[in-house]
Amino acid sequence: MLFDLQVHPRAGWTVVSVIGELDLAAAPRVRQAMLQVVTGGPGSRDTPERGPRVILDLGAVDFIDSSGLGIVLGAVKRVRAAGGTLRVVIKEPQVRQVFALTKLDQILLLAASVDDAVTAPTAPGPVGDEPRG
């Protein structure tokens, strides 16, 4: 249907790309994929010493609601607990708006593309998730 998920490596990062609408119906698959990446199951490419470096690519997500945001929050927590770094790619205005309204844009590095996410400097601001790894 209108939802798909792909995991692939990219320049030392694991990119989890979500396509479609990220709601309660899609949540379990994304949660499962993030869990695998963080715990080093198949799809994880991380060297143990620096923790997982993950890009959650929502560039092809054209709808997100609080169920989807819950997934993102859970992923941030899990990646940070493992000493890693999570960056999130966002393109659609609707998605950007929801991140702003819920202030998630203040605790996450949001990039406009996977390229930007890979090349972004490490500590973007006071509440960035970067200096944790």
């Binding site: 209108l2 609408e21 709601d23 309660l24 119906a25 709808f63 609601d65 609080s66 169920s67 945001l69 819950g70 929050l73 859970g74 941030v76 927590k77 205005p93 609707q94 708006q97 929801v98 309204l101 819920t102 202030k103 998630l104 203040q106 605790i107 509440v127």
Partner: protein, 145 residues
């Protein structure tokens, strides 16, 4: 102008349908701008998600009714379920959290987001079920003070 009603099984697969119907019903009135229709889609998605989750908790396979009422000033959407209800006064007391607290609120974002995006939100809930009423106004409508 017109009323549209949609009845769906209380299952997550039908969330996308609820959003589509509300967006398409709103689009019948050309005065609604796309951003407001987006706001309404999210608010309806939140209300319907809660209704589906409430039914899942009961493991009863009941149905959810979504009613859209459209005129040239506003669109009103009601989401009605037959689950166990809740106390809207205590739930969703907006975690207007500081950024630092944000991580602690993995759930509970739904009601605050719904209230932020709709121009009006009324929730009435009993043990027999919950009715969530969401209103979004057209840009030029005179809103009640």
């Amino acid at each position: 102008m017109g009323e549209v009603q949609l009845e769906i099984p209380a299952r997550v697969e039908y969330l996308v349908l609820a959003r589509q119907v509300v967006a398409a019903a709103a689009a019948v009135e050309p005065r609604f701008r796309d951003e407001r229709i987006d706001d309404l889609r999210i608010a309806v998605s939140e209300a319907t998600t809660n209704a589906i989750e409430a039914h899942a908790d009961l493991s009863r396979d009941e149905r959810i009714l979504i009613r859209c009422n459209l005129d040239d000033e506003r669109i009103e959407v009601e989401v009605l379920d037959h689950a166990g209800g809740f106390d809207p006064g205590t739930a969703g007391a907006a975690p207007d959290a500081e950024a630092a607290d944000r991580l602690e609120h993995e759930r509970g974002l739904g009601l605050p987001l719904m209230k932020t995006l709709a121009d009006e939100t009324d929730i009435s809930s009993t043990e027999g079920g919950t009715a969530v009423r969401l209103v979004v106004y057209t840009p030029h409508a005179q809103r009640p003070a």
